[in-house]
Amino acid sequence: MSSDEEEEERIPISERKEWLDVKPIPQDEGLNPVVPIAYRDDFRETMDYFRAVYLSDERSPRSFYLTTEAIHFNPGNYTVWHFRRLVLESLGVNLHDELNFIESIAKVNSKNYQIWHHRRWVAEKLGTEVVKAELDFTKKILFLDAKNYHAWSHRQWVLQALGGWEDELDYCQKLLEEDIFNNSAWNQRYFVVTRSPILGGLEVMRESEVKYTVDAILSNPENESPWRYLRGLYKGDTSSFIQDPEISSMFLKVLKTKNNYVFALSLLLDLVCHGFELNEEFKEAVEPLRPSQPDPPESNFAIIICSVLETIDPLRSNYWTWRKSNVTS
């Protein structure tokens, strides 16, 4: 049932020939309803008829159609989806048609858990033949909302259960070109780099990924996501991190702009605490950033960096103060 059909005049179910034998069951609210509920009349009628077929467990085409109507009114009703699945199985409904139905509903209700779960249930039944369909479907939803958590979760499931890794890194690339601030796309990039059976793993990919990430940082140093991604690329391997000349050069570039350097300083602090020695060029870059009310004379740059952060990120001043207290001379 397309959304166009919905706009046509709806014939009350009580006036439809095929439903004359069914007695609709109103919502049982008990003697003194705790939570009296009211519906628009159409919705109420649909749900009354749904209740009738649900309680009599009628698994017929008309029941199936009724769940379609009920879902259009309220796609969050999980009991309707539950019954729809029972009817689907009993009738052996064409699951490809079902995918189309789900897509039409999902586009206007893209954050609804029931819809996504139902989609996965159907896709699981169809298996690898729907790899492309599932990747295309999530792509359409992500086109409407590139950070939709459900879509990403579904996409990750598809890749792991059904395959289709070939173009995933390119897809992440494309989304990041559209919005370099898309944390979900960065997360997916990490997912692909670390888990794709085709790419060879983190070690192999690290060099090219570092280059990509550094470029992203340099164009928008205030972007939280690439900083986290960068840390992820060096997971557990701080010494490599420290030795990478691309990283040093990146830091200096950001610090010298004297702008948007919170994340730069925070990562620099972590590296210094892990043994990174600041050369003169670094010290000269950090000096001008010091707060105008200077600390007592300080030569420990880790402490200096903490002082700068306390000043420029006052929302988290307790965190930076704690970091300062942890710096060993």
Partner: protein, 319 residues
Amino acid sequence: MELLSGELEVEKHVKYILSVEKNKDSFESVTMEHLRMNGAYWGLTTLDLLDKLEIVDQDEVISWVMQCQHESGGFAGNIDHDPHILYTLSAVQVLALFNKLDVLDIDRLSDYICGLQNEDGSFSGDIWGEVDTRFSYIAICCLSLLHRLDKINTEKAVEYIVSCQNLDGGFGCTPGGESHAGQIFCCVGALAITGSLYHIDKDLLGWWLCERQLVQSGGMNGRPEKLPDVCYSWWVLSSLILIDRVHWIDKAKLARFILGCQDKENGGISDRPDDAVDVFHTYFGVAGLSLLEYPGLKAIDPAYALPVDVINKIFFGRK
């Protein structure tokens, strides 16, 4: 920054919550029918935090709750709906508010939840098999409230949750899933209840969480580069409290943000200032303020999301 207790519109919020139940034409009532159990938990817990729970007819509520129980032992979102782990927790929480857990057949309920644990330690939401760390939290929280945590394979449950931990210290819905404050609350809460917080790098996660606070609004987002939303005031805040890092945020600014999301005329709280209110955000706003020790509110337990006096009765009261 001093908080003035006059700023929280207690009476208006109480009125709003009661009206949601009674307003026959509201869109909210119409579309919430199937998750009335969640709605009851949000509304009633808020009333309790505002110390107004006595307005509600306890017997009516309990009678309705019990009518939502399925023969499987699980609870549905409303009468004549199907059971799901989501509504099972809310039902138990609502009964806990009234100190009526004894009306339950606890073994039957526990069996329902145990039946939802999968081999890898994860939990499904219902018979249809959806897996999500939210359900791990729900199972663990629910069974803990019923003193039946020993019925599940806790070790495997914890193992699964830990497998959802990301390099940034956060947690997603499944392994590899993007770190999200809501999922983090569920994982941290579950680990707290099972005594397994040692799996967490508290400094790393604490920093990720305190970075959710936005400079301009003082509110919290759920993931990097997203907008603030009142519900994250709960999920981020409770997580920070559970790992002893709440002093890393600016509490006064967050409280200001939450108060700014109130509808001061009609009551209720919305996701961000000037948006439409709903019961869900009203609950999370008030719960967040409670965690921030806003004057006049009852204290709420960050792991169980129930008033502390309710939790004390369950764990320290007479059986």
